[in-house]
Amino acid sequence: MLRKSMMIDPRDSVAMVLEDSQKGDVIRTPRGEITLLEDVEFAHKVAVEPLKKGQPVIKYQEEIGYMLEDAPAGTWIHNHNMGCDRGKVRGAKI
């Protein structure tokens, strides 16, 4: 099923789904059609490109965290697979 989504900037590496969506649903993004690999709730993020462990995740054209594991496009991106050390680790860049 085609689901509503949006990207804040077409150069970001994640899109947001604008309705509760299920595995197998499709979102249409400036980066092409992406098939969701798992259920994703309203306002949560989906990778629009394959992301490598350690790679920064980009939203608002800024780094919002770094990947804790590899993830193909269509993966739900959240705190289970994305880390951020600002405020926790001295000298952390992200």
Partner: protein
């Protein structure tokens, strides 16, 4: 552009006209409450502090209570003290008198107990209320308005809809010569470079960076303690559930509520800007909803724009709080707690500028007379006084070494 406000003897302008009954220490809370219950239209400012504090912590209490007493939304003040507290009730009374407002002070240990103080307090309070009721609104310029901005219960819609709409409204206030305040510095981690670029001078840019780094240092010091090891998330379970995955993602959405205006200065907690200085300010404090809102009101903000994706019922006893959401589900389920629905930015792709203009109109209506949902409910939870225990300010060079090594 004009609105109808209350011009105070010190020249500042209020949008409400309260008799504030203020305990100088928590021990006077019940007495204050019982006096206020007998004087319709008066506002009791209950709080838990004023006893056994030292240094900066005690100074924040003193500064905040004086800022509440001299706030332009307040017409007159009755101070009630116990008599042995560290923040002397007469210091508060004298600060209010110096601002030119009518005020009275009572001390429970001098009056001979609770009942005598209540009887005398009601007598004095009713006389003050007569003076408050005689005060009239007059045309005042929008440049006199200071709008505090706050996110509470953020979700991923806040950064897309509610915060940009509030930011657009703040830009409109600033364009009219008025002011806005951004704070919650622990939730601005990752935005310091963009905020520094918006500073009006290199000196203000350094103040922006140093204050954000200092809060980050404070956070890291708290997490260094192993007792807190299981409580080390920097954003809330509600933020995570709402699709926000890190403090930096929250910051990048949150910073939108400040609009695009230049940052003219960084204000300490509950401290008014220099006379004649207008525009967008950053206030140096973290994001406890009540403490940060009270601090910004202490800086002189007469109205608060509060964005929440998850929903929030709170209000402040001295200032109207306008609740804005970008989440259509939350708006539907908690309508009674909202004043403004910004969700059409997402659901109908309505331009942020259009909704920003509508919110600006609402701010003026609230400044004139309109009561917010939190005022209708009687919400007063956001009156909380900022605290600071045992933290020693680091040298800016030392902070830089920690953060940019």
């Amino acid at each position: 552009m004009k609105f109808m406000g209350y011009r105070r003897p010190d020249g500042r302008v209020g949008v409400r006209n309260y008799l504030a009954i203020i305990p100088s220490v928590f021990c006077a809370n019940k007495t204050v409450e019982k006096i206020a219950a007998q004087i319709p239209g008066s506002v009791p400012l209950r709080h838990p502090v004023g006893c056994a504090q030292v240094g900066l912590d005690l100074e924040l209490t003193a500064r905040t209570l004086k800022a509440m007493g001299t706030h332009p939304n307040v017409g007159a003040v009755l101070v009630v003290g116990l008599g042995c507290e560290r923040f002397p009730p007469r210091e508060l009374y004298e600060a209010v008198i110096a601002s030119g407002k009518p005020a009275e002070v009572l001390v429970i240990q001098e009056e001979g107990g609770t009942t005598n103080t209540i009887t005398r307090g009601v007598e004095l309070g009713k006389k003050l209320m007569e003076q408050v009721n005689a005060m009239q609104r007059e045309p005042c310029d929008v440049s006199e308005l200071i709008i505090a901005t706050k996110c509470g219960g953020t979700d991923a819609t806040s950064g897309l809809a509610a915060n940009p709409v509030v930011g657009n409204m703040v830009d409109r206030i600033v364009a009219e010569g008025g002011s806005g305040i951004l704070s919650e510095l622990n939730e601005l981690l990752g935005t310091e470079k963009m905020l520094m670029k918006r500073a009006v001078s290199p000196e203000v840019a350094e103040k922006v960076r140093d204050s954000i780094y200092e809060i980050e240092d404070l956070l890291q010091s708290s997490l260094d303690n192993s007792l807190g090891a299981k409580r080390n998330e920097l954003i809330s379970p509600g933020n995570f559930a709402g699709g926000v995955s890190s403090v930096v993602e929250k910051a990048l959405g949150g910073v939108h509520k400040s609009g695009t205006s230049p940052i003219v200065d960084v204000l300490p907690y509950a401290t008014a800007p220099e006379k004649g200085k207008h525009g967008l300010f950053l206030m140096d404090y973290e994001s406890h909803d009540g403490e940060v809102v009270t601090g910004m009101i202490g800086c002189g903000a007469q109205i608060v724009a509060f964005t929440t994706g998850r929903g929030n019922p709170t209000g402040h006893p001295l200032a109207p709080v306008i609740k804005v959401t970008g989440n259509y589900k939350t708006y539907q389920s908690m309508k009674e707690n909202f004043d403004f629905d910004a969700s059409p930015v997402i659901s109908e792709a309505r331009p942020v500028e259009e909704l920003g203009a509508e919110l600006f109109d609402m701010v003026l209506r609230v400044a004139n007379y309109e009561h917010t949902t939190a005022e209708q409910i009687g919400g007063d939870e956001l009156f909380c006084i900022g605290r600071r225990h045992g933290y020693h300010k680091k040298d800016p060079a030392e902070l830089l070494a920690c953060h940019e090594s």
